[in-house]
Symmetry: C2
Subunit: 383 residues, 2 copies
Amino acid sequence: MVRMTPPKPSLEMLRTLTDENVLRSLMAHPRLTRAEISARTGISKPTISDSVQRLAGAGLVVDTGERTTGRGRAGSYYSLSPLLGAALVAAITPHGVVAEAVDALGHVHGRVRTALEANAGSQVAAEALVTAAGQLAGRIPGRLRLAVVSAADPVDRGTGRLVHLPDAPFLVGDLDPATVLATTVSGPVLVDNDVNWAARAEHQAGCAKGVDDFVYLHLGQGLGCAVVSDGVVRRGHRGLVGEIAHLCTAGPDGLAMAFTEVFAVLGLRRPSSTAIDVPVLQELLARHDEQAERVRAVLVRAIGGVLSAAVSLADPRMVVIGGEWGPYPGLITAIDEHFSRTPRPVPLTAAVLSSPELTGARSRAVEELRSLIVRTARPAPEA
Amino acid sequence: MVRMTPPKPSLEMLRTLTDENVLRSLMAHPRLTRAEISARTGISKPTISDSVQRLAGAGLVVDTGERTTGRGRAGSYYSLSPLLGAALVAAITPHGVVAEAVDALGHVHGRVRTALEANAGSQVAAEALVTAAGQLAGRIPGRLRLAVVSAADPVDRGTGRLVHLPDAPFLVGDLDPATVLATTVSGPVLVDNDVNWAARAEHQAGCAKGVDDFVYLHLGQGLGCAVVSDGVVRRGHRGLVGEIAHLCTAGPDGLAMAFTEVFAVLGLRRPSSTAIDVPVLQELLARHDEQAERVRAVLVRAIGGVLSAAVSLADPRMVVIGGEWGPYPGLITAIDEHFSRTPRPVPLTAAVLSSPELTGARSRAVEELRSLIVRTARPAPEA
DNA sequence: ACCTTTAGGCAAGAGCCCTTACTAGAATGG
DNA sequence: CCATTCTAGTAAGGGCTCTTGCCTAAAGGT
């Protein structure tokens, strides 16, 4: 359903729109003269001058003091006020926390890495997150106005909390980023799982660039996937799109079973855990004896079953495979070969980005920060 | 990615927006005085008067000649011009063609039904469609400005043509509604399959009203489903979302096989066809002997496998079951019971609407016609 | 007959954007 | 050194839209 009620027209709306044009121009280009903004937006010079004056008065935009050089009169460069603040981008995995601050221009202002011991627990992760956020907050001129968090666990869409699904590993553990960051970050905290952010990154700058419908299959310690439909990562009602542990597929002897169950039967799960034993699996994928071939064939068919579901329910233009062991060279070609014999084959590609979850979260953070700035025509109070 | 470049502000834009407010008001209410429009939109009376005068001059709006009665000065009623035309809504199944004309108010102006003999072929269906469209075009004051077509086959999203997938029945047959209707309909022809339209209908007015994430499972002669995500029916890259014939699920003896294969093994397909034999299946669902129970158990488990895929990849808030034999009372409760023992159960409901595909297509037609009218009201963007 | 109520019109005013024309200032070229 | 040329920015005026406030017209109630 499209918007039923168009917005009420008013002169204030026009002014706001002009200001938005100016701000967006300065977000795309670090410094511009009023004449350049005018040329870029197609809005007349006097109108731009008015808007810049308004925005400068409100503290959103500052005269940098720099001047143009070259023929003609020197122009004054304007840019976004540094006090507009930044967004926190954080990725939490069982191995550690990575956090950075990013401003409305998309520039990264600092990066903090905290390693975590295995099984350190969500409490420790939460502390590492807060510490990192605090350090970053001290390094930037403004304050942290929002946060975008990637977590290596399913995320409840409504609450932003990490959720534990049956028979799926709970890698990070019970954690509520919004609560944890409430004191350090003044605005909204957006949380999603790493696979979804990775898919976003591959969509914007990776192997799925420009592909508006694709599926990203993550094969690592956990099993997950992301569904990008009409250019957007779809999350579903609770945010659990792509939690494929229980997807019905083919196991050994052609028996139907849950995807995660296949790994259990093959002995590829870590002891007393529902997580995949990645080292064992990688070692197995490297071998070429008969037993390894047999296991690999089972895996390929199981993954094929998952892809048949993805093709049926998402109709992707391509399938991207990522994760710790998914893009293993021999595996992809084997899946591809199996897949090409199915009734609806789809091109298969390995993910190409490193730390895609951070890239994806960062792009969302920049987007969100920009729209926050445009929405609130108000300067961030000094830190 | 949200819009990067906001629209350029101008007074013309305000005027256009005012006109759109007026038109949308008159689309929601058949006749209104200028004062009523003003009250409804919150825009001042003089502005509305200007706009109505403009639109009346352009022929989009007409003074009906009627006047208000009651206290106070009598006001003139205005309404949309009947010459604005209508949209064609058509549903094509192997059994026949149903077509109607609908105007911008959502009123149905005529309905034509043409029965088709079994296996009549797509040629005959195309002729029936053209004939029906021609009849309807003669019954309305304006002309047919667009068409929305429902077809009981998968539809290619890019071309609007019906496509034949391996191992799925090709019920209507090779048909290109856009070409067929080119002479009768002056504008765009939107085509989608009946399951997607049915899901749209259930979303807007049926059992999934207000539910922005759900899955509609169609169990009839063909097997299909629709995925509604974030309030919109998702179609995927080629428009083949929901073509679940090859989805890997559990068959007899717990063997993994394609969904449609289960029916083949159970002997529930029509002879030398990939279509489900609905009468046989219905008869079987009504029986209660041991063999029927056994077959039913297999079906329930197979459908359960499909639903596990839907839950994993779409995370619906609910599952709606429609189709000729899907909403069979005993079947739904059996699926529900089986489903409730899975790790991620989701509420199950039977579809409630009759001819949902027509309802869904009609609502899209009205929406599209309205937006077409609003678009043509604004000055044509120069080439 | 008079009052109340409502639709609609008119006039004044403010705001926003645009065009045109002008001024200011910096590099270039003789 | 001065004139030229080119560009940034400003000023003035105009057109357009929306709003407020007041007025008239017309119908119903008292």
